[in-house]
């Protein structure tokens, strides 16, 4: 359906920001997904897990394997990722304010 597709596109634009917001500390994929879903931002696993690897290859995240117990790969924002997060957060707030002004009185 067109409406589903458009909503998906809208959400896709903020997925990176949502992920970066929760990776100030080390988390592994499943844990991160649960955290995001718990805060009202569910992401499909097929989207999230590859995204973590892509962000890592772009230098935005750093990762490490932890083998105490079940082996898991943990991700955290790199210094570049923290800079990017600050910039995206500023853009998001600016967009949010602009959209609020645009949609003022519609409800």
């Amino acid at each position: 359906m067109v409406s589903d597709k458009l909503e998906l596109e809208l959400r896709r634009g903020v997925v990176v920001l949502a992920v970066l917001s929760q990776l100030g500390e080390f988390r592994y994929g499943y844990e991160l997904r649960q955290t995001l879903a718990g805060k009202g931002f569910p992401i499909e696993e097929g989207t999230l897990y590859p995204l973590l690897r892509r962000l890592e290859s772009q230098g935005v995240l750093s990762s490490q394997w932890r083998t105490d117990g079940q082996p898991r790969r943990y991700y955290q924002r790199s210094p570049e990722g923290t800079e990017l997060y600050a910039r995206l957060r500023g853009s998001w707030r600016g967009l949010n304010e602009a959209m609020d002004r645009l949609m003022e009185g519609d409800e």
């Binding site: 994929g29 696993e45 097929g46 989207t47 897990y49 590859p50 690897r53 892509r54 082996p71 898991r72």
Partner: protein
């Protein structure tokens, strides 16, 4: 019935084999661990894995997917592919002796054209991505109606020379060889007397009119609505007269030369008709107000 563990292993293996070699082991280990955690206690692990996505899609998400034909070029690629293959098939149908010959010589062989287009569009897309600043949009001269005068003058000289050669081919051959040309060669380039009486002069008159029209557009330096209309009228006249030539008596005295000439005329008529169709559609679009692009905010 496969266990969840076996399903995950099979799924991860299918994803991993589509990844770059260096990434495979690491991604497989991580993805396997994550999926086992996701699917723990699931009633329908197969459905969950299917919802995760086709292995090819998931593998593509892990890296930068390779694009051969840019999305913006896809429609043009499909159109050119279909038209090209159909043209080869149609000409093949006219030239082939029987269906088997057509299938072997044209039916299958025509598929080289889409293959060639894939390579051409792929190289063009890669070049655009590699040097984007060289491919910034610029208004095309044809879109603004302007013409290249040097190019059109060169074309005019070429067309005039071609017409002179076409009309006087036998005489020129005699002159160039000092009268030593083979009689068969001279005969091959000599018009049939009936054609020379009619419709030969009519064809020549249309060629001269086209040359004059070409010259007028060149002097103006741009296309005008009147010259566009004259072009269409001349094109229609040409198609009508040349089609009549195809079905009338011989053009040349030599049967072999006549067959060659008529094949060339058939190609010219086909190309002209396609060109007229495209021009007609463009004029119709412009005539209907240029659609929404001309008046984007008109009520």
């Amino acid at each position: 019935m496969l266990t969840t563990e076996e399903l995950v292993d099979a799924y991860v293996a299918d994803v991993a084999r589509l990844l770059p070699r260096g990434q495979r082991a690491d991604v497989a280990l991580e993805l396997g661990a994550l999926l086992r955690e996701e699917l723990a206690g699931s009633d329908d692990p197969l459905a969950r894995l299917r919802a995760f996505g086709r292995p090819a899609e998931v593998a593509a998400r892990y890296g930068q997917p390779l694009t051969v034909i840019d999305q913006g070029d896809t429609r043009r690629f499909v159109r050119l592919s279909v038209i090209g293959v159909l043209v080869v098939w149609l000409f093949g149908a006219a030239a082939a002796d029987d269906p088997v010959h057509w299938y072997q010589a044209y039916g299958i062989q025509a598929l080289w054209w889409p293959g060639f287009l894939v390579a051409a569009f792929g190289i063009a897309g890669w070049t655009r991505r590699r040097w984007p600043e060289r491919f910034l949009w610029r208004p095309r001269a044809s879109a603004t109606g302007t013409v290249s005068r040097p190019g059109r003058i060169a074309a005019f000289v070429f067309f005039v020379a071609g017409t002179v050669v076409l009309v006087n081919a036998a005489w020129l051959l005699e002159k160039l060889t000092g009268g030593r040309a083979a009689p068969e060669a001279v005969r091959a380039l000599t018009f049939d007397p009936d054609f020379a009486r009619f419709p030969g002069p009519l064809v020549l008159a249309l060629i001269v009119a086209s040359l004059a029209h070409h010259l007028v557009v060149t002097i103006h330096g741009r296309w005008r609505p009147a010259t566009r209309k004259v072009e269409v009228v001349l094109g229609l006249c040409f198609c009508a007269v040349l089609t009549a030539v195809l079905f009338a008596g011989p053009v040349y005295q030599s049967p072999a030369a006549d067959r060659t000439a008529k094949s060339a005329v058939a190609v010219i008529v086909a190309v002209s008709l396609v060109d007229l169709l495209v021009t007609g559609r463009r004029m119709a679009r412009q005539g209907s107000g240029g659609s929404s692009t001309a008046r984007p905010f008109a009520p």
